[in-house]
Amino acid sequence: MDAFGLKALNIRRLVSALIFLSVVSLAALLFSDDDPSELNRIQVSLLAINLASFLVLLPIVALSVKKLFFDYKQKKLGAKLRFRLALAFSGLALIPAIVIFFFAINFMNKGISVWSDADVEKGLSDALMLGRSALDERIQDGLFATSNISIQLKGMENIAQTLEKQRKENNALQLSLIDSDLRLLANSSSQLDRSSSRIPTSFEINQVALKQSWTSLDSTADDQYLIRVLVPAVNFSLNEKPIYLQALYSVDPKLSMMAYSVEETYARYGMLSFMKTPIQYSYALTLGIVVLLALLLAIYGSFEFADRLVKPIEALEKQTDKKSSPEKKLSSTSDGEDEISILVNSFMAAQKEAAWSDVAKRMAHEINNPLTPIQLSAERIQKRFSASAEEKEFIDSSTRTIINQVDVLRDLVSAFSNFAEREKLNFKKTDINNLIDETIQLFSIQHKNISFGLNRGGLDLIEVDSNKIQQVLNNLLLNSIDACQDTKNPKITIETEPKKADSATFCEVTLSDNGQGFGEDIIGNAFEPYQTSKKGGKGLGLAIVKSIIDEHKGEISIENSNRGASIKIILPTKQNKSKEGI
């Protein structure tokens, strides 16, 4: 599989690196902090890694799918099986992944919804109200005490001592007098955190001017609560400017601590509720990307797996010498026939051929052995027994018959041997038109009554073993000549034509005659050994022709035309070097 011009090995390395990266990032995501905000912080980078892996993998898988579809449409051998396997494996991964994704999303949403459970929210609100009501009483006490103190403040004389006394009597942490310009006039305080002891803001002073009092519950830096009360010192005036009294009261540390805890939990709960939907989206997106990535990897893996499964089958088909048959490229296989069926047929055909070859070898050997002594014995009888003329004639006649029949048997043995033995082909670039022309010339001299013709197609040189193709032409022409014996105006025509299928080029040779044609009983298995309609024929001619054409990765077919027979041969113009000598 080549994608983006990368070699399959590089793509495999890239995919392996992506798988490793994704697994590491997912593991990091899995073992990251449970805090959603912490998770989100690292989630982006981890998701980015997975997203990048996804985006790299997507075109690789898309190109693989495209190639697979293309091969499938072109009905290339192996594509159908590969397509089916990839579809099956992808489907096996896809269906559970989708089911798990929707279940996981559903459970996750339910889990997140528990956060915003109405009972939890009400419980927290009640806890807050309880705490507030406990403190409201303390605030009102503080306001009452501060108002009382403010009434008693009438001038700057001994103000420090007065404030100190009132602070202690009322258990205040601090009492301060402030004018409307926010200047501190007097102050009395216990040991306090510096941040808690502050001058009121002009806003707070304005509020006091409007409402006659200002109370607030302030939280300190050490997570404690303070009650702040600000009232006007109504009986106190300085340069006719209004004066304000600020008092700070402590809250019981235990109550403070519990209040802080409840408030923190409530705030955290509120924040999670506020982020609930985007957190759901975030988890769903993460899960989606992970599932998509896993799916893409599964689909890619299924292609690879299917590829590995199909490759040995393809190799087996090559061994049975069928894979590169032009028939598969020029004419499609039947719909119900997949690669396994083709393989079985190829294998059966190869076995059958091998069996015939073996039988032929044995027969040739077994028949050849007794032939020599039979022939020699007949010759010796012919020489020794020469008594009367009548006997001599009888003996001569008998021995001649024996010797002739031995010759016939020798021819048969020779034909067997030719069929059984497969020589290594010697491919050379040949002008097939010239080869046919030379063959026709030879035959036309011997058979002047027959009209031979050649229709030359525009062919380039093709790679063939010219001796073997010559043998094919001889056999076919002999058959046609025999078939035309009883024909008036016999005519044998050979036509050549270039053909193309995909990127491969082929040469089509069609031999037609106006002879008797093939008998209906043998046309179906004419290429099998010992099938003949000729008197005295051995039935090996077409079997040898078929064997030679197969060795050329070609195809041969026969049919009867309106008048006579037609034999079509398709030969590839180039021979794959790796397939030579198979």
């Binding site: 989630q43 408030e263 409530y266």
Partner: protein, 183 residues
């Protein structure tokens, strides 16, 4: 990926990212010297968006940050930075007190306000921010103060803000304002 698809993806990403951020125009500032230190008073159109109020009421803490930059304004040359300063406040609702708590993160003081209007009013006018000691400045030169203010939702990552695309203006960026340090 085709160029058209790449452009579309970029635009969608920008829209998603920008969707969480609002923009506020206006505001001004002035500076004055007191006891050898330059102080500034700032006026800002501080308004909390509805989503920000909802976030506050839900328990989210908002961060309000003022970034000051004091620049030596030079003719025919690039201005020179004298120094930078940040003033940060956190705003959150204390569910227990029911008040919005504003903490000056620079000095730790806390203010408790009863409504978001009070918060807006409080942070619309910020006074007495110490900027720079006059001893490091040259009285003959021109200095300007550039201030950039922003509100951001704390504890919510940009990722979650992006996924909260239906919520507008969770963060606010204020228009940069500039005034002369010495008038």
């Amino acid at each position: 990926m085709s160029k058209k698809l790449q452009y579309s993806a970029t635009i969608v990403l920008i829209l998603l990212l920008s969707g969480t951020q609002g923009f506020a125009k206006g505001g001004g500032g002035k500076s004055y010297v007191r006891d050898g230190v330059y102080y500034s008073d700032i006026q800002l159109p501080f308004r909390l968006e509805q989503q920000q109020i909802e976030a506050l009421d839900s328990g989210v803490t908002l961060s309000f940050q003022l970034d000051f930059s004091i620049v030596d304004v030079r003719s025919w040359r690039i201005d020179r930075d004298i120094g930078t300063l940040s003033q940060a406040y956190s705003i959150r609702l204390n569910a227990f007190t029911g008040r919005y708590s504003i903490t000056n993160l620079n000095i730790g003081t806390k203010f408790a306000l009863s409504s978001t209007q009070e918060v807006e009013s409080f942070l619309s006018e910020i006074k007495n921010i110490p900027l720079v000691d006059d001893s490091i400045l040259d009285i003959e030169r021109n200095y300007s103060v550039i201030m950039q203010a922003s509100i951001t939702a704390e504890g919510i990552s940009q990722w979650i803000k992006t996924l909260s695309f239906w919520r507008q203006n969770l963060d606010t960026e204020f228009e940069t304002i500039e005034w002369m340090l010495l008038d």
